[in-house]
Symmetry: C2
Subunit: 118 residues, 2 copies
Amino acid sequence: MSNGMKIEKSGNIAKVAVEAKGAKDVEIRWLISKEDGAENFAMRMFELQPGGFTPLHEHRHEHEVFVIEGEGIFVFEGREHPFNREYVIFVPPNEEHQFRNSGNSVLRMLCLIPMSAA
Amino acid sequence: MSNGMKIEKSGNIAKVAVEAKGAKDVEIRWLISKEDGAENFAMRMFELQPGGFTPLHEHRHEHEVFVIEGEGIFVFEGREHPFNREYVIFVPPNEEHQFRNSGNSVLRMLCLIPMSAA
C-alpha cells in the first residue's frame, strides 16, 4: 500500500456471507471499495456454491459483471440466459434479475456497482 | 439484448490495437461502454503480448484492475510490483503507473474507468 495504491491477491481479501433475503449460499469479497480510496465505483467478487443464487430483485443501480469461473443462469425479465466463464453481463437499472449457480462447482464472478449504491 | 441488458462471451467482443504513444503490443476490448447504456463506468479488457506494456503515464482518473491470466509488473512511483492471475489493483488518480507483461504468455486483465474518462 502506497499513496492509496492497492495491489493484492483477491483470494487474500476477506470473504463474508451475503445475508440478504432471497440469497442462498452466496459469499462476497469487497475487492475495491471506498475504504481503498475509490470514489466512483466498487469492485466485488461473488462466490455462489452449487445450487446457490442471489435474490431475484431490482434496484436503481446497474451491475457490470464478469464471470471468472463456473456455470450459471442469468434471469432477466423472467427469461433464463445461460453463461459460463469469461461472459460479460450488463444489468441495467430498475430491471428484475437474478444469478444462479447451475453447475457442479463454485461460480465466481466480479460485480461492479456505482459507489452511490455501495 | 433486451431492454438494454447485455450478455456476451467476452472473446466475441471486438479487439482493437491500442495505438497510444508509449504502448507496445497492447490490444483492448470494450466489454461494457456507453453504447451499452452504462452511464457511470466502463469495463475494458486489455491483452498484452509477452514483452508488451502500457504507457508509463498519469491521468486524473482511477483504474480498477482485475487480472484474468498471465504475469506482469505494475510500476507505481518508480517501484515494480509483480502480479499474476486473480490479483486486484487499484490505481489512484494522478499517479504515474504502467503495466508490463513479464511472462511468456498473454497477459489479460480487466481495467475499469469512470465514464467521464472513457
